[in-house]
Amino acid sequence: MEIITSVKPLLVVSVSLLGVLLIAASARKPNLRESWTILTALTKFSLVVSMLPLILKGNVIEYFLISVLPGLDIKFRVDAFGIFFALTSSFLWIINSFYSIGYMRALKEHAQTRFYVCFAIALSATMGIAFSANIFTLFIFYEALTICTYPLVIHKETPEAIRGGKRYLTYLLGTSIGFQLFAIFLTYNIAGTLEFSNHGILAGKGSDFLLTIIFILFIAGIGKGALMPFHSWLPAAMVAPTPVSALLHAVAVVKAGVFTIIKIVLFVFGVDLASKLGLGHGLAYLASFTIIAASIVALRQDNLKLRLAYSTISQLSYIILGVALLSPDGITGGIMHIIIHAFGKITLFFTAGAIYVATHKTNISELDGIGKQMPFTMTAFTIASLSMIGIPPAAGFISKWYLVLGSIEAHQIPIIIVIAASTILNACYFLPIVYAAFFKELPPGEKRERKEAPAFMVVSLMLTAIGTLFLFFYSSALLDLVNIVTAGVTGGN
């Protein structure tokens, strides 16, 4: 492994900040403004891709920006795991930008400049999280992501939106300052460093009791991972416009949460220490509880976006579960699920938004026969649902497969039961929608005519749906990347 110094990580992070200036400057010319968004998204993605070959060869790219205090550096490090997350988010931002144009214009939303500006900043923060070399840098971007997404959550500025926003901030800032920062203080105090390392930095640095406390504080402090009981900000955030729910609250923000949890488990504690203290088991059971409980709650939701939100809570815990198993296959499954769930869930949210734009329907009980009006949209919905359930040839199968392998490897048979039960629950809350859309009759008074959303939206959601199929057939390149991660954290020195 070679460490290469390059300014690219900084560029990836800052390119959308530059984009912000251009977007804000062309507030009066919507077409130009949206071109800047698209251009920024494309630049960002290509910069990320340009680093990929080096990473696949097993190298690491570093860039040191500034040392704020002794031990507190702002430093970027691009490793296989980071670039995996960055690729996912920056690619989906491109599609989401097209989708946003269709959505925001069709609904004639207000404050669109603010919307695009905050979106671009949010992606900067996401890249910052992906490329952080230490907990301090990660914490900065983590908080920045919370703050810059707040205007997006309360976009409608209705009392309901403000209430949702308040809950959003309370949970995310509250947990991160109250618990995560506390854990950071403790970590620095005993380890003397905050750098991520393949084998952790805490082994042998403190009593088992103290280390366990730090672990609990970290897990409780990463509210973005939406582990129960700190999940209720996510349904509250559904008051945001659908593109926000799609990219941020199904991909960037929540995945930043699980990404951070994984970073803490694997790169601060390390596989050995986490399994020695039994922390993996504890986390796995908490995640299992979240998977089942959130799925059951999802069953009871009639609002489509809320059902998707609870499904997200459940699916995020798959990722956490996989890593908490601390076995190579489990970790592989967890990490793969980051991208697989991203494609599936963004498609589902896209379709929810498309249905809303085309028909102004938000509830599942109103969707009878809608497949006849919106065949493309509902086909995409079906594909994404299959991926969520884990039926081949949708990509969801791959992550579930690895998760099951991982549980066997870790001798955790109860976990297999959890996965099976949750698969059934997934089917229970997705398939009835598909059934109603295609096989039930339209409500009286509605015509059997084409009523698809604007092309920008339909094309975007078709693309991500195809993406979930594509990931099933061409997962090997991604698996190569993930193997570098697992080899690093589970292999010898």
Binding site: L72, F139, I140, P151, F185, L186
Partner: protein, 493 residues
């Protein structure tokens, strides 16, 4: 003879003489009084920088007033600690003076402007004298100069409430001053000296003396009133709220900080650290009181409707931070305290300046009326936001640096319970600032948005302070380096 030899005394003399010159020159044109004040505070600032640099080159500066050799004559001392505090206070005084003219012109009757600046200079001279003096009776004299000037400045407020506030402060301030004087008298009685360094040599033999302990108790209570340590804070909210905006800013940013400085001097220079840690358990009492102050100040701030009153209660909490660091008495915690002196001076000064600009432009002081100000006064509100972020302690602001060191100090002292106190209060300050920020940016008052911001003469100073919050948050090594020396010096037994 080299003029720079006399810098220690000039830093006090220049504002003192200006106080006399202003009434004379103000007869020609009122604006000249302002010019003289700017010139005086600016030269004090330059001198303080030169003094601090000399300290780094040659070590402690001892200046003999009138060439009388201490301990008989009065000694002025510049070391790492007083050098640092001098730079901070004279800088803030300079910035606020530059800012003052518009606000003073609006809030103070024209015929009182000249006396106002004269008293203003007395106030500054008193503060700088408190910092630089090495003589305990001289300290008392300067405390009285700054306090009496302070009462007069507060009474210059527009409404009758200002008189009542000033009167209340006068009563409590006089009690405090009397206590301090009694303490000095007792020490003189048993040691026969007033020189701080000399006292330090003589006192350890007398640590068991009841007189010395009584003296210490008088100092502690007297200074606690001066710095408004909870529960001796009741004079402060009204004083800050009803004083003219400029005075509110100056008082909040400088007066209590210098009070804390005097407390550090008494506790660590006149007495030795072992006295407060081992001989009398006063550090325990301070730990408890400061924790209560931190929480109570923040909680009380949440309930306020008037923005100035909110900032005032927040000051009470922030004073708690500084005292907490002193009471923990290890290197990290004292660095934290000293940086918090800088931090609080910068951010609270900046916040009060913005509030002054809002009052100047709109007359608004009620938080509920801040709706839509983000559109009308975007620059002022940007400065406000930065100050608020630093208050919360967001990374990359100087507020984070002080909290980081305070938390590390608490952990190193084995008093981890204070870490949650710090974190909870950060959250509470996020709550009360969020209320304001939400009104500013996310609530519309229906008035069409037209930029109508404060004049540049008010914006630039506010922005300078806000910029410093960020500069010292990123280049944190500068204040950490200086205060590191100061902390080592203080802890040397």
């Amino acid at each position: 003879m080299n003029i720079s030899q006399h810098f220690p005394v000039m830093i006090v003399i220049i504002p003192l003489i200006s106080a006399v010159i202003i009434p004379l020159i103000g007869r020609i044109r009122r604006i000249y009084g302002w010019y003289v004040s700017i010139a005086a505070t600016f030269s004090s600032f330059l001198i303080s920088i030169s003094l601090l640099m000399t300290v780094f080159e040659k070590g402690r500066i001892s200046y003999w007033l009138g060439n009388w050799e201490p301990p008989w004559g009065i000694e002025y001392v510049v070391d790492y600690l007083s050098g640092f505090v001098l730079v901070v206070i004279s800088f803030i005084a300079f910035i606020i003076t530059v800012y003052s003219i518009k606000s003073v012109g609006k809030e103070i009757p024209e015929h009182r402007i000249t006396p106002f600046y004269s008293i203003y200079m007395l106030f500054v001279a008193g503060l700088l004298g408190m910092i630089i003096t090495g003589d305990i009776f001289n300290l008392y004299v300067f405390i009285e100069i700054s306090s009496l000037a302070g009462y007069a400045l507060i009474a210059a407020g527009r409404k009758r409430d200002a008189l009542i506030a000033s009167y209340n402060y006068l009563i409590l301030g006089t009690i405090a001053a009397t206590f301090i004087l009694l303490g000095i008298g007792y020490l003189y009685m048993v040691t026969g000296t007033l020189n701080m360094a000399d006292l330090r040599e003589r006192l350890p033999l007398l640590y068991d003396s009841k007189v010395v302990r009584t003296a210490f108790a008088f100092f502690t209570v007297g200074l606690s009133i001066k710095i408004a340590l909870f529960p001796l804070h009741i004079w402060l909210p009204n004083a800050y709220t009803h004083a003219p905006s400029v005075v509110g800013a100056l008082q909040a940013a400088t007066a209590t900080k210098v009070g804390v400085y005097a407390m550090i001097r008494i506790m660590f220079t006149v007495f030795k650290p072992q006295f407060i840690l081992e001989v009398v358990p006063v550090s325990q009492i301070f730990l408890f009181l400061s924790a209560v102050a931190i929480i109570a100040g923040s909680v009380l701030a949440i309930g306020q409707r008037d923005i100035r009153r909110m900032l005032a209660y927040s000051s009470i909490g922030q004073i708690g931070y500084i005292v907490l660091g002193i009471a923990l008495a290890n290197k990290s915690s004292i660095i934290g305290s000293l940086i918090h002196i800088l931090n609080h001076a910068l951010m609270k000064g900046g916040l009060f300046l913005v509030v002054g600009a809002v009052v100047y432009k709109t007359g608004i002081t009620d938080i509920d009326d801040f709706k839509g100000l983000g559109k009308r006064m975007p620059f002022s509100m940007a400065a406000f936001t930065i100050g608020a972020l630093s208050m919360v302690g967001v990374p990359l602001t100087v507020g984070f640096v002080s909290k980081w060191y305070l938390a590390l100090g608490a952990l190193q002292a084995g008093m981890w319970v204070f870490v949650p106190v710090i974190l909870i209060s950060s959250l509470l300050s996020a709550v009360y600032f969020w209320r304001v920020i939400n009104n500013i940016y996310f609530k519309d008052d229906g008035v069409p948005a037209r930029i109508d911001d404060a004049p540049a003469g008010m914006l630039m100073p506010a922005f300078t302070l806000a910029a410093c919050c960020i500069i010292f948050g990123i280049a944190a090594f500068i204040p950490v380096y200086i205060t590191g020396f100061a902390a080592e010096m203080l802890l040397r037994g």
